[in-house]
């Protein structure tokens, strides 16, 4: 006897359809707003001469890391990108990643705190994260389109879903690994839950949380190429175009651009995290 295929996917599709039929007017409006916002960021950054921007970024990297190597790398890498003629796509990629990361942090931090402090929430959130992280990232693109239309917002949506789990996980981990004796000490002085969170748990979890945010950024970057398939521009878009044209040269140019951005962001964030520990 044949067991008929269970309609799991169909059920999810029906659910998405229902949601998009009823709410897409709202999500599409939201998409418009976000898209305008991102365009503004990109246009704003393009107002400056790239060389000025590169100098400013290199300075920022220096101020954060205080390391000569990565500062020189940042300046030289960005000049290389400029030389490739990929300045505008790079700016729009960075804008996309920054916006997606900020949204992911806004979602990830509170959920991580909730999961750390509440056993029930932990049991609910963790399996969902496992699901989110193992589901191939491409799949998120499909439902993003009916809600947000083709374009950068759908890309941000799927990027956020794909990149938020490490923020949640590491926030939760950071808070949970505060030693029991320190919690007892805080309790013994009559701290309220809020005081404990802000005076002890979050400060002590900072470096772990920063590591989570760093991972979120890296996952976000890895998602931009995929997101290019639904119309996000930027370096991912260049790679996607190169794939379609079988043009290895411009594909590698854009790929190297992504690597440079990733290294700059990673090193800078890491040193933010470790300076948080020293404090």
């Amino acid at each position: 006897m044949m067991i008929p295929k269970l309609p799991v996917g169909e059920a999810i599709e029906a659910g998405i359809e229902f949601l998009s039929d009823n709410f897409s007017f709202a999500t599409k409006a939201f998409a418009e707003v976000v898209e305008t916002g991102i365009d503004l960021i990109v246009d704003g950054m393009m107002l400056f001469h790239p060389l000025i921007l590169i100098a400013v970024i290199a300075l920022l990297v220096w101020l954060v890391t205080r390391k000569r190597g990565i500062t020189i790398f940042a300046g030289a890498g960005l000049l290389l990108i400029l030389n490739f003629g990929l300045w505008e796509p790079t700016v729009s990629t960075v804008a996309l990643v920054v916006v997606a990361t900020m949204i992911a942090i806004m979602i990830g931090l509170p959920l991580g705190i909730l999961a750390a402090l509440n056993g029930k929430a932990y049991k609910i959130i963790m399996p969902i994260l496992d699901f989110m992280q193992t589901m191939p990232a491409f799949v998120y693109l499909i439902p993003a389109i009916p809600f947000f239309g083709l374009g950068v917002v759908a890309a941000i949506f799927s990027t956020v879903i794909f990149s938020v789990p490490p923020s949640i996980r590491l926030t939760c981990l950071g808070i949970r690994q505060v030693p029991e004796e320190l919690i007892e000490a805080a309790d013994s002085f009559g701290s309220s839950k809020r005081q404990k969170l802000f005076k002890l748990q979050l400060p002590m979890a900072t470096s772990t949380i920063m590591a989570g945010i760093n991972q979120t950024i890296m996952l976000g970057l890895s998602m931009v190429v995929i997101a290019a398939m639904i119309g996000a521009k930027g370096l991912g878009g260049e790679v996607w175009r190169a794939i379609q044209r079988l043009d290895p040269a411009s594909g590698f140019d854009a790929g190297i651009g992504i690597v440079i951005i990733a290294i700059i962001l990673d090193r800078t964030m890491q040193s933010l995290g470790s300076s948080a520990v020293k404090k």
Binding site: P179, E181, E184, A185, F189, G190, S191, K199
Partner: protein, 401 residues
């Protein structure tokens, strides 16, 4: 003296539905039986004791005896299963969470075994934590924090981080953090156990010195007999979650409540190998029965700062002891020799006497115990402190091997 804390029939059972274990304990079942039958772990069973205003009470027991659980029940870091904890007559066990926070802020300061300092805060920021929680203004709390740090001898270290300090200094910060709040009660959970023995001894001295100034009510947890005897005005001995004896060091030394206490007091291995010879010291000064009168005996005592002096015969055998009080009386009466005031009934032991046998002797003895050889010649004297010091050195050399 008034009772600061009264603990009445306190139980703590770990596990779900712990109340059923309380009934079983009341029926007289043992901890192990209950664990086997219900899977519940008994932490504290029917503990009742009082802590008096201004005293240091040492809760002593081996690890697993429930002493740390018991002290955590006092400020409800661990929720007691049954029983009352009256602090200034107010039952903490029934306080709601808001009341409990207030009580903790106002009455308790706690010091932890592994210091439990906040690594992201400076020494000063650690010291003011409790005041910060209480909502005290920044200037005021930093003033109090600096004072507390000065009290524990850490002036000048305010802006360091805990990781930069040695263990002993870290625990001073822990102590300052508790003192800054000016709480009535200090709970000290094995506060000095993580420190190395020399520093531990210093800290004990400093705690006693501090206590003479601040007069807190202190509940001190320890597994160390010497520490308990040194610090405790009274000692509560625990075993398997139950209190087996409560009393002063004298009571416990002289009248162990049961075999367990006796074994504990023996210090198990060390005191058995420790002999009178190893803990005695040379008498600072002795008097001669033939040559010394009350005046010269008194002068010798004054000179050495002692309150009694052993008297030897011509051939240096032990005759007895003379106290300073008796000597000055004799001087007033115009007596010329020591015969009238010589106390011949003194405790003498041989150099091979073990510490076990010395304990009861010392607990009863009014004067130092004399160590003599077969010819009754005085070899040395033992005072109570020397025995304890000898014991702790015994612990040291054991640790080394």
């Amino acid at each position: 003296m008034t009772n600061k804390i009264e603990v009445k029939n306190l139980y703590k059972v770990f596990g779900s539905n712990p109340e059923r274990a309380v009934e079983m304990l009341e029926k007289g079942m043992s901890k192990d039986e209950i664990l086997e039958k219900t899977g519940l772990g008994v932490g504290v069973s029917n503990a009742s004791f009082n802590v008096r205003q201004g005293e240091i009470l040492v809760l002593m027991g081996l690890s697993g005896s429930g002493k740390s659980t018991l002290v955590r029940c006092l400020n409800r870091l661990i929720e007691p299963t049954a029983g009352q904890i009256l602090v200034d007559g107010e039952d903490i066990a029934v306080a709601n969470s808001e009341e409990l926070r207030m009580i903790r802020q106002q009455k308790f300061g706690m010091v932890f075994q592994h210091f439990a300092l906040f690594p992201h805060r400076t020494v000063l920021q650690n010291a003011v934590y409790g005041l910060e929680i209480k909502g005290v203004e920044k200037d005021e709390r930093e003033e109090a924090g600096r004072q507390a740090l000065e009290q524990v001898g850490l002036k000048g270290w305010e802006d360091s981080h805990p990781a930069q300090l040695s263990g002993g200094m870290q625990q001073r910060v822990g102590l300052a953090r508790a003192l800054a709040l000016d709480p009535d009660i200090l709970l000290m959970d094995e506060a000095f156990s993580a420190l190395d023995p020399l520093i531990r001894s210093d800290m004990q001295d400093e705690l006693l010195e501090l206590q003479s100034r601040v007069k807190k009510t202190i509940v001190f947890i320890s597994h160390d007999l010497d520490e308990a005897f040194k610090l405790g005005d009274r000692i509560v001995l625990m075993k398997d979650g139950q209190i087996v004896q409560e009393g002063t060091a004298e009571d416990i030394l002289a009248k162990p409540a049961n075999e367990y206490v006796e074994r504990f007091v023996e210090g198990i291995d060390i005191s058995k190998v420790l002999t009178a010879e190893s803990v005695m010291h040379k008498p600072e000064e002795v008097a001669s029965y033939k040559n010394d009168g009350p005046r010269s005996a008194l002068w010798k005592m004054k000179h050495e700062g002692i309150s009694s002096i052993f008297v030897l015969s011509e051939n240096r055998t032990l005759e007895g002891i003379v106290t300073a009080d008796d000597a000055s009386e004799a001087l007033k009466r115009g007596e010329k020799d020591l015969g009238g005031i010589l106390i011949r009934d003194i405790k003498k032991v041989s150099p091979e006497t073990s510490a076990n046998e010395l304990f009861p002797l010392l607990a009863e003895a009014k004067y130092p115990v004399a160590v003599v050889n077969e010819q009754d010649r005085l070899l040395g004297i033992i005072v109570r402190g020397a025995l304890l010091a000898g014991l702790s050195e015994g612990v040291l050399s054991n640790d080394d091997s």
